[in-house]
């Protein structure tokens, strides 16, 4: 009995049957079976052997004959006919080419931008094990997610856990330091302190100095190449000294080359954190807030040995919080880990080192690029189908001569691939000119040269070819299936293709969605920039404050407000609109063990007058009330609510904890309630705020009234220098500074604006091409109507009617979709514009106008023809 085991593997036989010539199969298979049957033992080894025997038969003599196609010649012929086809119909070719070039260009640029965004912090060695610690603290009902952590956390992490290879803290001095070398002095915004291991943990390449040793001595500094150039020109800066804030001399121990690196941390100077710690220690000793678990002033980075250790530490972090955090925060706080290469795109916390990228913008950009591409591909498909009539004769003749469907398809595919490849090449060349513009739009320094590698180019052209094939396959199959005997019929199924209608509707749909989006995005951006923030932002100047001026503030202020252009000046710590820090407060009825964390800002007198913010109750700090100096608070309306006071709170008591201490540093009474104003960006709702009086300002806020801005600055500078020579006058216009809060929205609206223009061009030329084909088919009809006396406007209507229906359907679908999309986007903001229904009408109108004018152009051209010419011959 032959069991399954005894017979040769069936699959192998099937395989043999598949590839082997039928006249040989019997003899060969017989031999194989005979030799197999002869074997005494049959097991998997013999089966395997059988397979091997079969494989050895894959030789030319045994293979079935493939059709003897003269591929090379056919290919040559296809190339030639494709080339001729493209040249024959110049309009068709140029429309396709223009649309594709535009679309590929946009995709290429978006691709560059996306890959640039994704490359952030990839250069650190072992970046997969490098994490940043972040904290989340809940207080007074508000959650504060901070990128910064407490200073003692680094050593605690190191002591509590094994598997932590290194911990590095980074700290940015609270006021921008002044760096002096001989007669060169600049304030430097990118000065940081970092732990000793900084350069061995992070991958910033040193062009001078040993990464392990550059930060060993407290009085050392590593500078960037840019800074080396700025202070030392061509000379060698290593070993030279720079003066830090006029207090300390720092020796340059290394130079870092970080100009081309994409990193969420961008620096010009790195000094050892020990130096800053020593300075603090001299002032406050062990009581300094840097030794306490309150102040989240440092960014802390941890390098783990491996992922397993990271997982373990992450699981232990809640216990870590319990062990170290202050009693009142323990229950509502947590620590999180962010992998370093995720920070740029995903992190958006308080106290980031610099504004990060936006993943949602990235997604929107990619989506827009894909949509534009689809639009171009649709043009392509539609035009090819519309051109099918002329092509049909060619196809018919080829068919009559015996061409198979696959040959016809391959001919048409070659044509589309040819078109795609040429647009790919043109787009690549054009990219050289668009990249600077891309850099301007995105505020990056992408260099195309970095991407010009062989493998990238290869991939690019492979992709283009693939896209060409995908775009060409539908019309090619459709046209090749065409029955030869139908070809002579003028009206073919082609002109009524449902697919074509659907594709055109999709084009209009995408255009309408883009138009609506662009209007709403622009309106929202305009709204963010112009909405009444509750304070004056025009004609306001923010001047960087300095100690020397704070000490002499009254005299300084008097001199300044003597200037006729200046209306008022006050000292502040936080620029209105840019946010505040938080401190712990205890209200009159409250408990000291459960303080409320409230945003607080310190100002001088006159703040409400200078910024023009109205009072709801009471008064702002006033020189006429000496007790204001240390016994008064002002709240905003929201803070009154958060503290649980329903009526007028004037006279209520409030206590303020010192930063990082357990001591009450101030007890005071509420003297006034100021009206809510937007002290943060419009992404946030107006929160509570407490105002306290101070004399150590970070900025001066100046209200001026003049059109001659340069003259004002000149005058201000002379007053400034009269009070001190050390610091340069640094100033910004408040409204300009506030604009930077909305750079993301600016980037988005810039790009969407551009995308809409490109989309309309692509869709427009598509309609142009399509209608020209349709019109040319109806030339005779129009001529007869002309003879019978039709009006031109009716001709336009007649020819545009099918398109008008499509526009109408597209609009009806696009309105709810874009409404939904924009609702989603607007939900990112606390304050949004109303979506006006007029926008939808406008979008519909724009598409309609484009359609009617484009088809109208052809219609008019047709009516201009002499009817005799078009009717003479049949």
């Amino acid at each position: 009995m032959a069991t399954n085991k005894d017979i040769p593997p069936r699959l192998a036989d099937k395989f043999l049957n598949w590839f082997c010539k039928s006249e040989l199969i019997e003899g060969i298979q017989g031999d194989l079976h005979e030799s197999y049957e002869r074997l005494e033992v049959k097991n998997w080894k013999t089966k395997f052997n059988y397979w091997m025997q079969v494989f050895k038969l894959i030789r030319p003599f045994a293979l079935k004959n493939t059709k003897p196609l003269n591929t090379a010649h056919m290919f040559q012929n296809h190339l030639k006919t494709s080339y001729k086809n493209l040249l024959r119909n110049k309009m068709y070719t140029s429309i396709n080419l223009l649309g594709l070039v535009l679309a590929v260009l946009v995709c290429l640029n978006v691709g560059l931008y996306v890959s640039d965004e994704l490359s952030y912090d990839q250069f650190h060695p072992d970046h997969k094990n490098l994490y940043r610690l972040t904290v989340s603290i809940k207080s007074g009902g508000v959650v504060y997610n901070e990128a910064g952590t407490q200073f003692p956390m680094a050593s605690a992490i190191n002591e509590d856990f094994s598997g932590v290879e290194e911990v590095v803290r980074i700290f940015k001095p609270l006021s921008t330091p002044l760096i002096i070398r001989e007669d060169l002095k600049y304030t430097e915004g990118k000065f940081f302190f970092a732990d000793e291991a900084f350069f061995s943990v992070f991958g910033y390449p040193l062009i001078a100095g040993d990464p392990e040793k550059v930060l060993q001595k407290p009085n050392s500094v590593v500078i960037s190449e840019r800074i080396a150039q700025k202070y030392f020109g061509e000379g060698n800066p290593v070993g030279q000294v720079l003066e830090y804030n006029g207090q300390q001399l720092l020796e340059i121990t290394g130079i870092v080359d970080n100009s081309d690196l994409n990193s969420h941390f961008d620096f010009d100077f790195i000094s050892p954190l020990q130096l800053q710690l020593n300075n603090w220690h001299q002032k406050t000793g062990a009581e300094g807030r840097e030794n306490k678990w309150y102040w989240t002033g440092a960014w802390t980075y941890v390098k783990f040995v491996d992922n397993e250790k990271k997982e373990y530490v992450a699981s232990q972090l809640p216990a870590f919080v319990q062990a170290h955090f202050p009693q009142k925060w323990k229950d509502d706080s947590s620590i999180d880990l962010q992998r370093i290469d995720d920070i740029h795109l995903t992190s958006n916390l308080l106290f980031e080192i610099k504004p990060n990228g936006s993943l949602s913008n990235l997604k929107i950009f990619s989506l827009i690029a894909i949509i534009l591409f689809l639009l171009a591909v649709i043009n392509f498909v539609n035009l090819m189908m519309a051109d099918g009539m002329t092509r049909a004769f060619q196809i018919g003749i080829r068919k009559t001569l015996g061409a198979s469907v696959s040959v016809l398809i391959s001919q048409m595919l070659i044509e589309t691939v040819l078109l795609c490849l040429s647009s790919g090449i043109i787009a690549l060349v054009l990219t050289q000119w668009t990249v600077p513009y891309l850099n301007y739009l995105t505020d990056r320094s992408i260099s195309l040269a970095n991407y010009f590698t062989f493998s990238n180019l290869f991939l690019y052209f492979c992709l283009i070819t693939l896209i060409g094939m995908m775009a060409g396959i539908y019309p090619a199959v459709h046209l090749a299936r065409f029955k030869s005997f139908n070809i002579s019929k003028k009206e073919s199924a082609l002109s009524k293709s449902a697919t074509k209608t659907a594709l055109v509707i999709f084009q209009f749909f995408a255009s309408v969605v883009l138009i609506i989006s662009v209007i709403i995005v622009n309106e929202q951006r305009e709204f963010l920039l112009t909405k009444d923030l509750g304070f004056d932002k025009t004609n306001m100047l923010v001047i960087k404050a300095r100690n020397e001026y704070n000490k002499n503030f009254i005299a300084f202020r008097n001199e300044i407000i003597k200037l006729p252009e200046v209306s008022d000046l006050c000292g502040i710590t936080d620029v209105p609109g840019t946010g505040m820090n938080s401190s712990r407060f205890v209200p009159e009825e409250g408990n000291r063990s459960q303080p409320v964390l409230l945003p607080v800002t310190w100002t001088g007198y006159d703040f409400s007058e200078t910024a023009n913010i109205e009072m709801k109750y009471g008064r702002f700090f006033s020189r006429e009330h000496p007790s204001d100096q240390d016994k008064a608070f002002v709240l905003n309306e929201e803070a009154v609510k958060v503290l649980g006071w329903t009526d007028n709170p004037i006279g209520k008591k409030l206590e303020l904890f010192g930063a990082g201490t357990e001591q009450i540093v101030k007890e005071g009474k509420v003297v006034g309630v100021i009206k809510n104003y937007h002290y943060e960006s419009m992404h946030h709702p107006v929160g509570p705020a407490v105002f306290d009086l101070t004399t150590s300002f970070d900025h001066y806020l100046l209200k001026f009234q003049t059109d001659d801005y340069p003259a004002l600055i000149e005058k201000l500078e002379s007053v400034w220098l009269a009070f001190g020579q050390k610091w340069p006058l640094e100033y910004k216009l408040l409204d300009r500074q506030l604009e930077t809060l909305y750079t993301r929205e600016k980037k988005l609206s810039d790009l969407v604006n551009l995308a809409v223009i490109v989309a309309l061009i692509i869709a427009g030329i598509g309609i142009f091409g399509l209608s020209s084909f349709m019109v040319s088919k109806r030339t005779k009809e129009v001529s007869i109507r002309r003879v019978l006396g039709i009006r031109i406007s009716h001709v336009i209507l007649l020819l545009a009617r099918p398109f008008i229906y499509m526009v109408a359907i597209a609009n009806l679908i696009a309105w709810p979709v874009s409404y939904f999309l924009m609702e989603q986007w607007l939900s990112n903001f606390e304050y949004v514009v109303d979506i006006n229904w007029l926008i939808f009408i406008i979008a519909g109108f724009v598409t309609l106008v484009i359609t009617v004018s484009v088809t109208g152009y052809h219609a008019v051209a047709v009516t201009r023809l002499n009817p005799v010419d078009s009717l003479r011959s049949e």
Partner: protein, 110 residues
């Protein structure tokens, strides 16, 4: 038509075909080559060679009657053609001629 000379393995297969007269077919040749010369030959290699020889016109193939073994499949039998016969003889003569010209001494020296 085609090449007039024989490759080494081709010659071996031809000799087997000649030896086995009307009984020559793929597997039998394989076995015979292995038993006579001690070198293994795969079925694929033999069939490929036979196909080549057939193309050169040295052998011809025809199907046998159905057999009991091999699941009732017929064998592809191989027969030598006249042209094959003369080529084989020519090849042998050429080699014998060469062999006779080698003095014993010369061969031993090598």
């Amino acid at each position: 038509m085609g090449k007039e000379y024989l490759g080494e393995f081709e010659e071996l297969v031809m000799l087997m075909v000649a030896m086995m007269k009307d009984e020559a077919y793929g597997l039998a040749i394989c076995d015979e080559i292995e038993s006579q010369t001690g070198r293994p030959a795969s079925i694929g290699a033999v069939h490929a060679t036979v196909a080549r020889l057939e193309k050169k016109g040295f052998v011809e193939t025809f199907m046998s009657d159905p057999t009991n073994e091999r699941g009732g499949r017929r064998k592809r039998l191989i027969r030598m053609t006249n042209s094959g016969k003369s080529t084989l003889i020519k090849s042998r003569d050429a080699k014998v001629k060469l062999w006779t010209q080698i003095p014993d001494l010369a061969l031993n020296k090598i």
